[in-house]
């Protein structure tokens, strides 16, 4: 694969980011679904689950992202428990449970996302991929970045996402026979089940003013 040309890499800030995204688009074609460049900030791209590993290779070899930041997942479903501050004696609260994804959109509840960067050129890319709801599986990134190993293990036990080709998806934190995936939104915060949020009785109205009021100097 041809590397990003030096002319592009010499560009400042946002022009470089444009170059990175177009290089990804050229290499991945249909695999790249959406991209977002926030001026003077960052790059977000979303790829298909099939193109996930390929996108990693392109980022590493073509774009020059040699540094592995992290890999994790987001559960976009709003928590059915709200902020775990419900009064257990009151009737269950009505909540808007519609799923709304963040930057670069998405179609599934679960998304895997990772952050890689270029050490020499000082830019980073946040890359996301939809994980099918029915069978939450995606390719491993270990052949791309060896450091993804532990991140994928953590992601597997916390979100229940499987990684094709990962040699060892043992739990890192939880007991082996633990059931459920704690970071999923439908997994309750157990501390609040044992003892309901004490704030529901303690809370007092703030003296004066509403949300819009600003702090006096």
């Amino acid at each position: 694969m041809a590397q990003l040309s030096d002319d592009v890499l010499a560009l400042p800030g946002d022009a470089l980011r444009e170059g990175v995204v177009s290089a990804l688009r050229d290499a991945l074609g249909e695999g790249l679904i959406d991209s977002l460049i926030k001026p003077n900030d960052d790059i977000w791209v979303r790829v298909t689950a099939e193109a996930w590993q390929q996108a990693g290779l392109v980022l590493r070899d073509v774009v020059g992202c040699d540094y592995f930041g992290f890999l994790s997942a987001i559960d976009w479903m709003p928590s059915p428990f709200g902020r775990s501050e419900d009064d257990p004696s009151a009737p269950p609260a009505e909540r808007d449970m519609s799923i709304k994804q963040g930057y670069t959109g998405g179609e599934t509840r679960m998304q895997v996302f990772a952050r890689v960067g270029s050490i020499g050129k000082h830019f980073g890319v946040t890359i996301k991929a939809d994980v099918p709801d029915a069978a939450p599986m995606i390719d491993t990134w270990i052949p791309v970045y060896a450091g993804a190993n532990w991140h994928e293990r953590e992601c597997h036990e916390m979100f229940g996402i499987g990684f094709h080709g990962h040699p060892d998806l043992r739990n890192m934190y939880l007991p082996t026979d633990f059931e459920g995936h704690p970071m999923r939104k439908d997994f309750p915060l157990l501390a609040r089940l044992v003892k309901p949020w004490p704030g529901i009785v303690d809370v007092e109205p703030l003296p004066g003013g509403d949300d819009e009021e600003e702090v006096a100097e």
């Binding site: 540094y67 592995f68 952050r115 050490i119 450091g147 009021e213 600003e214």
Partner: protein, 390 residues
């Protein structure tokens, strides 16, 4: 002194030899050795299971998770200002430094910036946490290699820094001082003068440690050429901070990115070392502590006056969006990926802590080393358990 390429070759050959030994018929009987979870070299409760052949490690597996507190889940039921009290406890030796990237991420989403004086005070306290954190490392390093004296010196001098942090923030270990839009308070009177004096003491401490430890022949022979990590492997595993710079990678987030902190206004040197061995990692940290005292001195000289808090709403709602901010913390790159849905609290916070990546290289780096080197390699990689388990 052997050349770096030779050392890498030697460690590669050692790893290959360990592999080969598994496969020959005359295989010696292996032994599984369990180190930790309670071991002085584990800075908390990291357990490492190693498979030995004679005195050589053929396989190693760290087993973290004895201190997992689930902060990522807990942040989802906290409001934005409450999160700092949690993240303080991630790297407990440099707590203030944990608050800064989270607050910066929230400020980025709200599109506000702290006033200049708050940014400078943040930077001073950030560097003080680095000094408090790494000075303890320098003392502890001695203990792990069999020298007792340095740790007393480290605790003595770290106390001065902790006193400074306490008198400014009210908390020795968990300041919880950073607010969205600025800081809780201004600095107390006379604090800056006192800080300058303490920085002098800390520079003396660095000199003492350099003479006592780094010039010591035993110390050098325990660390030189041990646990070599080449630059490309370090980057693949996402090593950061001193561990990456010790492999010759010139990368420092204080210098290499634009953040509303005061690092642009001052001069400092980013130390690197070409060797990538345990000695290089320790040496970089020593130089960085000394550099941090100079950074603090410069910041004190240039600190602007003015308010320490921007105008922010009384009840903080962070607009919808996603932000990633990472800073060069004492242990390496510490970052927060914050997803907000316009609510009082974050929707999802991914905490990228430095030690998690720094320790994930352990199975790779321990292959082929000898038992006493396990301790010195772990010591030189320098991790805090709270920073691995979160």
């Amino acid at each position: 002194m052997t050349d770096i390429a030779d050392r890498q070759k030697l460690s590669y050959i050692a790893a290959q030899a360990a592999d080969a030994r598994l496969n020959v018929e005359l295989e010696t009987e292996g032994m599984t050795l369990n180190i930790g979870p309670q071991h002085p070299a584990t800075h908390g409760t990291l357990r490492i299971i190693v498979r030995l052949d004679g005195e050589q490690v053929i396989w190693a597996e760290p087993s973290a998770g004895y201190m997992h507190r689930g902060y990522e889940k807990l942040t989802e039921v906290r409001t934005f200002p409450q999160v700092t009290a949690l993240v303080n406890r991630i790297d407990w030796l440099g707590s203030f430094a944990n608050e800064v990237p989270f607050i910066l991420a929230a400020e980025k989403l709200m599109d506000i910036e702290a006033p200049p004086r708050a940014q400078w005070i943040r930077t001073i306290l950030f560097e003080l946490s680095r000094i408090a954190n790494v000075s303890l490392f320098l003392g502890d390093l001695g203990v792990q290699l069999g020298a007792i004296t340095p740790v007393f010196m480290a605790f003595r001098d770290r106390e001065y820094v902790l006193n400074l942090i306490e008198s400014a923030t009210g908390g020795r270990f968990h300041p919880n001082f950073d607010r969205i839009g600025g800081l809780k308070d201004d600095l107390p009177e006379g604090w800056l003068t006192e800080t300058k004096q303490v920085m002098k003491k800390l520079r003396n401490f660095c000199d003492e440690i350099e003479n006592l430890l780094f010039g010591n022949e035993i110390f050098q022979s325990r660390l030189r050429g041990i646990g070599v990590i080449p630059a490309d492997v370090a980057k693949q595993y996402g090593l950061s901070g001193a561990n990456l710079r010790a492999s010759g990678v010139d990368w420092d987030l204080r210098r290499d990115q634009k953040l509303p902190l005061a690092y642009d206004e001052i001069d400092f040197k980013v130390w690197t070392h070409p060797d990538g061995d345990s000695f290089a990692r320790c040496w970089i940290r020593l130089q960085e502590t000394r550099e941090a005292t100079k950074i603090v001195d410069q910041l004190i000289d240039g600190i602007p006056s003015g308010p320490v808090m921007a105008k922010v709403p009384r009840i903080i709602k962070v607009p919808e969006g996603e932000a990633w901010v990472s800073t060069e913390n004492p242990l390496g790159e510490m970052g927060y990926y914050v997803v907000s849905k316009g609510d009082l609290g974050p929707f999802r916070v991914k905490i990228r802590s430095a030690s998690f990546n720094n320790i994930s290289i352990v199975p790779w780096v321990l292959r082929g080393v000898y038992v006493p080197d396990i301790i010195s390699i772990l010591a030189s990689l320098y991790f805090i358990l709270g920073d691995i388990d979160r």
